[in-house]
Symmetry: C2
Subunit: 440 residues, 2 copies
């Protein structure tokens, strides 16, 4: 009788039994023993939630999610003196390095193919605009709420990582550092400080991006036919944590202040994209330039998302907030499932239900039944207050607060409260049971 | 005859039975079928990292942490119309209700005994103090950093949940709502907006609190011998998500503005705690009052933590920030493990190492080698700016920024950067490989 049995999971269980008539009893007993043993090893109190896999050190993976206390001694990219976080140095072979890290940290593998770390930030000093920091605080709370509901980590940067890479260029060094600090994440999601999540349920359709490495809101025809610097918006993007992205950032940043050729890029960009606002090279036009000039290289890997508001221009959104509130309450009156109270941690289940029941195939954007996913207060410049002269500053601040409360209503429902009026932040109103079915 | 079951969630099971007799063949087949059944029920193909346990609906638990899309139809406390989030209504039988929720959501069970949700917040309107909201934003970032490193959820409240429960009373309705919205959490950790985590590695010794339901920084002798309203600080506390805490909050709030007897409680508190600042009843004195008047009821369940700075008065901390930086760099020069770069997600492993190697048995507090865990800028009132006249406002803001950068240095190390000077937020300085072993 040959008998070998390893640990469950990732492990093999092989049983070979060759018997003659004489030992049928033994065979039965033996099989039963295997059954008993396997059940015991699986349901024994000690290994209550042990994962079916082996960890680097041979012990079972704790199933309480991620093993944050385990970092094996095996040498990895962090131990390589030549690997630098700096925007000025290139990273090579990142895909293999990340892959190896995940192999050495198997508890991070489940879900790693879709894991997102959100990155945002703002300036290091107080805002010139008196209400600026208050709005930044609330915009950050809004992002933290979205990330908590969907289980994403979020990192806020309020310092320059490179003295020359400031204003709209500051995000590139931060995104690169985040990629290196978070090998467990497949996507880094940059979101400008003045972009607000106005649909707390919606989740980006990552499967749609499986062959792409950068996802940004934009339109190909406006890049290639109209040559406008607003053909896409670089204030919100998903970038895959891979070697391709490392190289994109290298090329991208070579048009920025850190590059010796910085000065020449402004005029080049303007010569092609005539409506470009600033004389100096900016990150958004730089990205459009790459797509325009090297379409064959970049277009296949950059997904221009236009089917929903990965970021939506606030002017087109805020006017509809009241109507869309009514539309969503209507869905909730239609179906008791959407009225069911629940733990915040399982909110995704109800978002998925609404998607399935009411929003299937519904595109986002103007006139859609969908709420805008992200409302971007482009041009409002809440911190400096130097908003685009075409609108009144007070309108910016007033509408930002309405958008923030609109989003907060979706969050506070699970805490038992709502804002009775989108312009009114406090106090909140208790939500009656089975709201909105029962009359308020 | 070969029964091959193929791949079942990373586990391979192969059973080969070579038998010479028909009956034995049937026996083997039967046994193998049981094996097939048993393994199949455990490693279903659908669940890659399937957990060795059964979910409410009979399916396997996904091991990619928490199953945030699963909420079974089984009726629970959320479906009870009489359960209210309001501070004015009592919750009964909460322990059973929470236990039942966890049973219906088994993916949340692993780690539930120590799961923490941090709750903080500030006023709903812009601060009077021009630098106020900037400081609040940075204090929130500091808490989000701590929670990201340790895997806690964090919720920021900037609206009153009850119009009468304002200022220092506002936290009670929020804490209660968070308890109900987060049945997956064993602890709700309230942290005032002006409290800053200055040791990003330290984790509260929860095992020490296993027989207690409320943990707050304070000293028994000062309650019972000195009757001072500063015998504990209610700005930072861990409260267990259990029925006892629900009842404590009911009793606690009955001394607050929501109570018809509110007016009488101020004088009562002052008659016992002579040094109390405000004439009106406040949450901190109210808690001390309960401990003082009903020692037998509350003292056994309230842990007064004085062995480390669960919250430390900033005046006693900020002067030592430079020295403590040096002491910690010294530890890092002493041991290469502390200099090893790593993913942020496994930072806890290095914190645990430092604890074991250098800080074992080291109490926190004045003169300790330990960094203060939490530095609380009590009396600075960063938002209103109405700081305690005994100190200069500018000192408050300057020291808050130094404390924030001191903490940020511990965070940004894993992103490759540090603040070269605690007073300087930006730009950051790249960290050389093997820092601080190599000369800067």
């Amino acid at each position: 009788i040959i008998f070998s049995m390893g640990k469950h999971g990732g492990a093999k269980t092989k049983t070979t039994v060759c018997l003659s008539d004489g030992v049928i009893f033994l065979a039965g007993a033996f099989m039963s023993l295997i059954l008993v043993w396997s059940y015991f090893s699986i349901f024994s109190p000690s290994s209550n939630y042990s994962l079916t896999g082996l960890r680097g050190d041979g012990g079972p993976i704790k199933c309480s999610g991620l093993d944050m206390q385990f970092d094996p001694p095996d040498s990895g990219f962090y131990d390589d003196p030549d690997l630098s976080y700096s925007i000025e140095k290139s990273v090579t072979g990142w895909d293999e390095k990340r892959k190896r890290w995940l192999e050495l940290h198997p508890s991070f593998k489940p879900g790693s193919e879709n894991r997102i770390v959100m990155v945002t930030g703002s300036q290091s000093t107080p805002c010139k605009n008196p209400i600026g920091d208050h709005l930044l605080l609330r915009c950050f709370k809004n992002k933290v709420d979205y990330c908590r509901i969907h289980g994403h980590d979020i990192f806020y940067s309020n310092s320059l990582l490179h003295p020359k890479m400031n204003s709209y260029w500051a995000k590139l060094p931060v995104v690169k550092a985040a990629m290196l600090a978070h090998p467990e994440a497949e996507w880094i999601w940059w979101v400008d400080s003045d972009a607000i999540f106005t649909d707390m349920e919606f989740t980006p359709p990552l499967h749609r991006y499986r062959y792409h490495n950068l996802v940004v809101h934009g339109w190909a025809n406006i890049i290639y036919d109209k040559q406008s610097w607003t053909a896409l918006n670089a204030g919100v993007f998903l970038i895959r944590n891979c070697q391709w992205s490392m190289e994109l950032i290298d090329t991208w940043k070579s048009m920025g202040p850190v590059s010796p050729d910085y000065a020449k890029w402004g005029p080049i960009q303007r010569s092609i994209f005539k409506d470009k606002l600033f004389p100096e090279s900016d990150d958004q036009t730089a990205l459009i330039y790459l797509l325009y000039k090297h379409k064959e290289v970049y277009y296949p890997k950059i997904y221009l998302e236009g089917e929903y508001y990965l970021q939506g221009y606030w002017i087109g959104v805020v006017g509809g907030l009241a109507n869309v509130t009514e539309r969503y309450l209507e869905m909730e009156r239609d179906d008791a499932t959407l009225r069911r109270r629940h733990a915040e941690k399982v909110s995704e289940r109800y978002g998925a239900f609404r998607e399935e029941r009411f929003l299937r195939g519904e595109f986002g954007g103007r006139g859609s039944r969908r709420r805008a996913f992200v409302t971007h207060f482009t041009g409002c410049q809440p911190c400096s207050g130097d908003h685009n002269p075409i609108y009144d500053g007070d309108t910016c601040w007033k509408e930002m607060i309405r958008a923030l409360n609109f989003a907060d209503n979706q969050v506070m429902r699970t805490y038992g409260y709502v804002h009775s009026d989108l312009s009114k932040t406090s106090p909140l109103q208790p939500v009656p049971f089975d709201y909105p079915d029962e009359p308020w």
